[in-house]
Structure formats: C-alpha cells, structure tokens
Symmetry: C2
Subunit: 190 residues, 2 copies
DNA sequence: ACACGATGTCTACAGTCGTATACTACGACC
DNA sequence: GGTCGTAGTATACGACTGTAGACATCGTGT
C-alpha cells in the first residue's frame, strides 16, 4: 500500500496543481470508475477544492478525457514479433493482475468506466489513438487491426475476471501455468 | 427495437408484479450498470412506484443480486466437445455482439456493473454458481476450471470491445472472418 | 355484504452530485 | 512598497439518490 497522500503544501503553481489533479483523477477513475468518484474526492486527493477542477479542466467529463488519454498512452511498449510479443505480453499481464498487486492501468480504467456512454465514447477514441494503433503497426500481415483488438480483448477479459471480479480459478491459478496458457492464446493472434 | 413498454394494467398480483420488477431490473442493469440506474427508473419501467422494490426485494442491492442470478442462469446451454463447442460459442458470440443487435446478456451486465465492489462480489458468486461451474464440467481434463474461465474472459473481452466500447476493427470486421478467428482461439482452450 | 389483510402510492428526508457565482489571498512586476 | 492579475476558497443551488413511514385502495374469505 502506498502512502495515503503526501499533503505537500504546494506553493502557488498552476501547472503543478493541474498535474496533481490529473494524477489524482487517473488513480481515482481507475479504482472506482467514472461514475464512482465525485469531483470532491479527486480534489481532496489532490489537496485542493472541487472548483479548481472546473477551472482547470472545464468539467468532470473533460477531466476524464484527459485522464484517459494519459492512462492509455503506452509507457512500456512491448515489441518483438510473434513468440516474443506473445510471451512478454502474457508475462506482464499475469504479473500485473496478480492478487496482491493493486496495479493501475488502462484496462482497469476501461472496465470500471464501461457503464457510462460518455465515458465509453472517450475511451473508444483513446484506444484508436494509442494502444490499438501501436499494436496494429506491430502486428503486420493481413487482418492486423482485428488481431490487435482481439489481443486487447483477451487482455481486458483476463483483467476483468482476475482483478475486477476475482473469479476463483483464475485468481488461484499458478502464475507459470496461467502465463503459458495465455501465451499460447496470444500466439494464435501474433 | 421492442415496444417501449406495455402499459398493461396489471390487476393486483404480487407474483406478477415482482416478476415485472425483476425483468425491468435485468434490462436496466444490463443497459446502464448497477450505479447507472435508479430504483425509480426500474419501478417506472415496471409500472409501479419505487417503494415496491423495497417491499419485494428489501433494497436495490438485493434486487441486483436476484437480477444477476437470473441473468447468469444459462438459458441455451452450448454443449459438445472440442471443435463443436468452440465453433458454436464463437458463432453465437459474434451474432450477439453484432452492431445492430442490442442484445442483453450476462456479459454486458457484468461489464457495465464492474465499477461497484458490492456488485462485483455479487457477480463473482453468480459466476461460480452458474456459467463457471457448467463450463468447467463440460471441459474435462486438467486445468478445466482455468480453461473455462479463460473462455469466459475471452468472451467478455470481445463483448467489451465490440458492444460496449465499439472499437473500430472489431465492429467493422466481417462476421465470418471474426468468427473463424475467435473459434481458433477457443479451440486452444476447449 | 362486510371487514380485514394484502397491495400499491404519496410525501418526505437526509445525503450527494456537478457546477455557477462571489469572494479572499498570494506573488510577481514596476 | 504598492498594485493588479491570478491561484485558490467558500457558499450555495437545483437536481437526483435510496429508503423510511404513513396513507389509500383493491380483492378475497366469510
């Protein structure tokens, strides 16, 4: 568990405050979904009042759009072709969805905000911009776009079952066995 | 599109009213998620007032639990072994997530209610009771439970990308091509 | 026919939501 | 050192939430 919140007394600094709000928003939206957090929660986590959100981002919805865009921008890009990409993707997927690791990430954000139509539209655009496009370029060959999105779908499904719902078999499965099975699936698409 | 609502003047009938509320709840929760619908919405759709929900189900949360249980009870069971099961599952999955068919179903319900922890706990129990158990029995052999839940994960992911988010490639993909690709994936698990 | 229990409704409450308006206080520049 | 723009706050509003309690009305058993 990370420290509850660093109550650093920020000196007056618009850019830093904006960034603090954005980071708090990413964490909160990922943890509880678009409808599950109020602007007051996010503001409190960032150490400001709720109205600053509207000053800097216009509305909760626009804040969500920026948060999604930041969360979906790939930080560690998995490259390589075929077996490499499948194996590495499976390994990090299993690691990041392990029972203990309450990891953040775009898949959680997507799953937890799937209820609101405004949120889904924002995420659809973000996927087309970031992971979908990147993965499609990585996977060459025919039907690359479909194969890329099927890989995303599989990963999202594992996140859902393992981290969000917490179904028994996937939660208790041995990491090595599970990694191998997922790798074999991804291999079909890679 | 089905008729907006049949404003049938139900004569006083506790069982029928209860059932009407339950069906309205399944439809509403599937469409907008646990947090996305209010008890007044459900009550209005069922042609009653909101308080009847508390009278018959105790609370919104208990109504959700019954709705989930009903939605997850498998209606059309897909059996057969290996290729049969994979092919038929892929076929119905693609058909039910087609752009036009605003179909209801447990996967949509699960995805759209994934934000609330109370809702996820209820759904976890329902999966262990209904589809997980059934599919695990259908898939014999070693690791049957893990393979069954990976099949569910893949299906949920396709629902997410295709029906909820509506990503471009999966939405526009040719049904036959997509069915074949998903069948090949399921085949690995079956 | 009458009464009583079951069925359904009305009103209200305490809380939370997003956000608009009005305000205060800090800090850099001349 | 004063001044002015900006960073940040305080208050409040209207809408909506789930649910509690009191009330009305239908239907059935006698």
């Amino acid at each position: 568990m990370m420290a509850p919140e660093a109550p650093v007394k920020r000196r007056r600094d618009a850019a830093a405050t904006r960034q603090a709000i954005l980071e708090a928003a990413i964490a909160a939206f990922t943890a509880h979904g678009y409808a599950g957090v109020g602007v007051r929660d996010i503001a409190a986590k960032a150490g400001v009042t709720a109205m600053l959100i509207n000053r800097y981002f216009g509305s909760k919805e626009q804040l969500f759009a920026e948060a999604v865009d930041a969360a979906f921008a790939p930080r560690t890009v998995i490259s390589g072709t075929g077996a490499e990409l499948a194996g590495e993707t499976a390994r990090t997927l299993v690691a990041r969805t392990a029972p203990g690791a309450d990891e953040l990430g775009p898949f959680l954000l997507m799953l937890r905000s799937a209820a609101d139509p405004r949120a889904t539209e924002i995420m659809r655009a973000a996927i087309a911009r970031h992971p979908g496009r990147h993965l499609t370029e990585e996977l060459a060959g025919e039907g690359a776009a479909v194969r890329a999105e099927l890989m995303l779908a599989l990963q999202a499904g594992v996140w859902l079952m393992r981290s969000v719902i917490g179904t028994d078999a996937l939660k208790d499965a041995g990491p090595d066995d599970l990694t191998r099975r997922i790798r074999d699936l991804l291999q079909v698409l890679a």
